[in-house]
């Protein structure tokens, strides 16, 4: 890339600079002995072409829209269309969440993202004993198609794309969405959206698992197979590093563990007889935008290049779309402070900017009050407006990969890729991600503990928590979920059960029990079941019976 003669000359000059620098810092020491990223990568005072001596533009970067896609997955990125502004939302009943959805769409949001409550995510109806106290709390309660009809009332499904944070029962929620669309007169071929459907990171870091790995992977490959034929524009999985990072991992571990999970899904689908180029174009990813600004930008770029290589070299994918890492980003919830919470607005803005400079396809910006409660309407609006400022006012979206070619960013991108590759090799040695769950948990936990110790020692500054503290009053106007939502939900559920055709329900559940024990694709049966208003809990109970339940190994 660089002229070798000039490079040698530059290396000599760099040496001179370093000597001058050493003399200077001897007299005036720097702020810290060492500067490191959150992942512990050492940062130098200055980067020059000498740091990229074997750099090759064509090989290492290439052009946006081309392998290895490090500069972006489209050839003109945000000059064509800005990223999708997609705020994760859901609380209480389907009515309340529907109202929030419509409000966000009116304010210029361009995609929907559904937060489900924990009973829904774990396949329990609202009247299950374990659902007590949890109904409608961290998301909307969905027991059956009836609730989905309310959730999307007045929202035409051929006009929006919808992301659903649903994992263990993803196939059933997707089935509900398909039937809902059908009732609106929208064929499934026209649907756009994403199901998270990433069970491995549930075992590792998020906790909403139901079934053991074997049957869970089968449900996932059933979805891949069904969608590649019937719902071609649907993102069948969102392989998520977000929660791994929230659980405390470093940026390097986030990339490594996410891509290791991705490798496991691709391998499982190939083992199930699918052709890689049929399903891989619909794989999508989900990353965290944390505080260390440049490291985050480098992380997104490194993930893109590494995945392209994995798909091409390891799995022989030929379709460029199979090699592209498309991703959603959410700003880091764990960096929000309850102390001086309005400072979170600034944290979120920088994190969001790193995601845009890293080439994200869609983005959720957290609200400033989320360390205290679910976000209020006003705080969500401010979070959305933050994205709009980045998109429309500051020119950040006007050229492709604006930091590409920066000596520092390229060096850091390479470093993250290298370290993540070493982790992936280690996970391969352990037999792949499903066998390495406890290993990943231990690594994440160690990083989380180190991070906390650095906050407590003051090495890591958190404004308002360990520096610049001040006495303060808690802000007013926080959102509170109506505690009556559970009762209303249970009344609705009981009414549904008395009004539907229960003979057909029993018949379908029996059929499902048989099919689950055999090895046929379960998607068509899920669709048939939800159409008859069989509830999520009833379907999951049958699957629990056949598949068993996952038992967590406690790593601590």
């Amino acid at each position: 890339m660089f002229d070798q003669g000039k490079l040698a000359e530059l290396q000599k000059q760099t040496k001179e600079y370093e000597e001058k620098l050493a003399a200077h810092t001897k007299k005036r020491p720097e702020r810290q002995d060492r500067f490191v990223t959150d992942a512990g990568i050492e940062i130098k005072t200055l980067y020059t072409p000498a740091d990229l001596s074997d750099f090759d533009y064509k090989r290492d970067l290439g052009f946006p829209g081309d392998y290895p896609f490090i500069r972006g997955v489209q050839n003109n990125m945000y000059r064509g269309r800005l990223w999708t502004m997609r705020q994760y939302a859901g609380f209480g009943s389907a009515e309340e969440t529907n109202e929030r959805f419509r409000y966000l769409l009116e304010q210029g949001q361009t995609g929907l993202s559904v937060a489900f409550d924990l009973p829904t995510q774990i396949g329990y109806n609202s009247d299950h004993p374990l659902a007590k106290g949890e109904v409608g709390k961290v998301g909307v309660a969905i027991d059956s198609l009836l609730d989905m009809e309310t959730l999307f009332a007045g929202i035409p499904l051929d006009k929006v794309s919808t992301s659903m944070t649903i994992n263990a029962p993803a196939a059933i929620l997707l089935a509900m969405y398909i039937v809902l669309a059908e009732k609106q007169g929208v064929p499934q071929e026209k649907l756009n959206g994403t199901i998270q459907n990433d069970i491995l990171k549930e075992y590792v870091a998020r906790g909403t698992y139901i079934f053991p790995p074997g049957p869970s992977m089968r449900l996932i490959t059933d979805i891949f197979a069904y969608c590649s034929k019937n719902v071609p524009n649907w993102n069948t999985i969102s392989i998520s590093g977000y929660h791994i990072r929230e659980a405390g991992s470093t940026a390097v571990q986030e990339v490594a563990f996410t891509l290791a999970d991705g490798i496991a899904y691709v391998q499982a689908a190939i083992n199930a007889g699918l052709d890689v180029d049929e399903f891989a174009p619909r794989l999508s990813f989900f990353f965290n935008a944390h505080l260390n600004f440049f490291e985050e930008i480098a992380k997104f770029r490194a993930a893109r290049r590494l995945w392209a290589k994995i798909m091409k070299e390891r799995f022989g994918a030929k379709n460029p779309r199979s090699q592209m890492l498309r991703f959603h980003t959410q700003t880091a919830g764990c960096t929000l402070t309850a102390q001086q919470p309005q400072v979170n607005i600034m944290r979120v803005a920088f994190q969001a900017l790193s995601a845009v400079l890293g080439g994200t396809q869609s983005l959720h910006t957290n609200s400033w009050d989320e360390a205290l409660a679910l976000p209020s309407e006003q705080s969500v609006l401010l979070a959305l407006r933050t994205q709009q400022v980045i998109g429309y006012e500051i020119g950040a979206a006007d050229t492709v990969d604006p930091l590409g070619g920066s000596y520092f960013i390229e060096k850091l991108t390479g470093e993250i890729e290298q370290r993540a590759t070493a982790y992936i090799e280690k996970i391969d040695e352990l037999g792949g991600a499903p066998e390495a769950i406890e290993y990943m948990q231990k690594e994440i936990q160690n990083s989380a503990y180190t991070y906390q110790k650095e906050i407590e020692s003051g090495k890591k500054v958190v404004i308002g928590v360990n520096k610049f503290q001040m006495p303060e009053q808690r802000p007013a106007g926080l959102l509170k979920v109506d505690p009556a939502v559970a009762e209303r939900q249970i009344v609705k559920l009981n009414r549904l059960k008395s009004e539907r055709d229960n003979t057909r329900v029993e018949k379908i559940l029996a059929e499902l029990r048989r099919a689950a024990a055999a090895d046929e694709n379960l998607m068509p049966l899920f669709i048939a079941a939800v159409r008859e208003y069989v509830t999520l809990g009833e379907i999951c109970d049958v699957l629990r019976e056949v598949f068993g339940e996952y038992k967590q190994n406690i790593v601590f």
């Binding site: 007590k132 106290g133 949890e134 998020r206 405390g248 409660a373 936990q445 906390q452 360990n466 406690i554």
Partner: protein, 137 residues
Amino acid sequence: MSGQSERPIRVLVAKPGLDGHDRGAKVIAQALRDAGMEVIYTGLRQTPEQIVQAALQEDVRVVALSSLSGAHLHLFPAVVEGLRREGATDILVLGGGIIPDEDIPVLKEAGIAEIFGPGTLTATVIDFIKEKVAQRK
């Protein structure tokens, strides 16, 4: 008795309900262990009854509950009630997670000794436990 006071404090760190956020619970567990306590972590998705049974079986002095899902008003008091039913009124019960200010008096009234919110330093929790356990001897 002097021999008794040398015994490390035993703590059960527990995750009641369906919440999967265990970063805080594990960090606290590790910090308490590094501070010389004996720590047992229950793992996710424990019912209040399971937590009570584990506390009795493990003969702990302290139960530290963590919930970030908003179900604390149902779950935390249920643990205290369960311990009372078993006559284990000397066990100190603490809570942590995303707990709105207005819920804190309700939880204290129900017998939770203290609530630790986001941003709490682990040293604060360690000191609190040592002090309370010393008082209850």
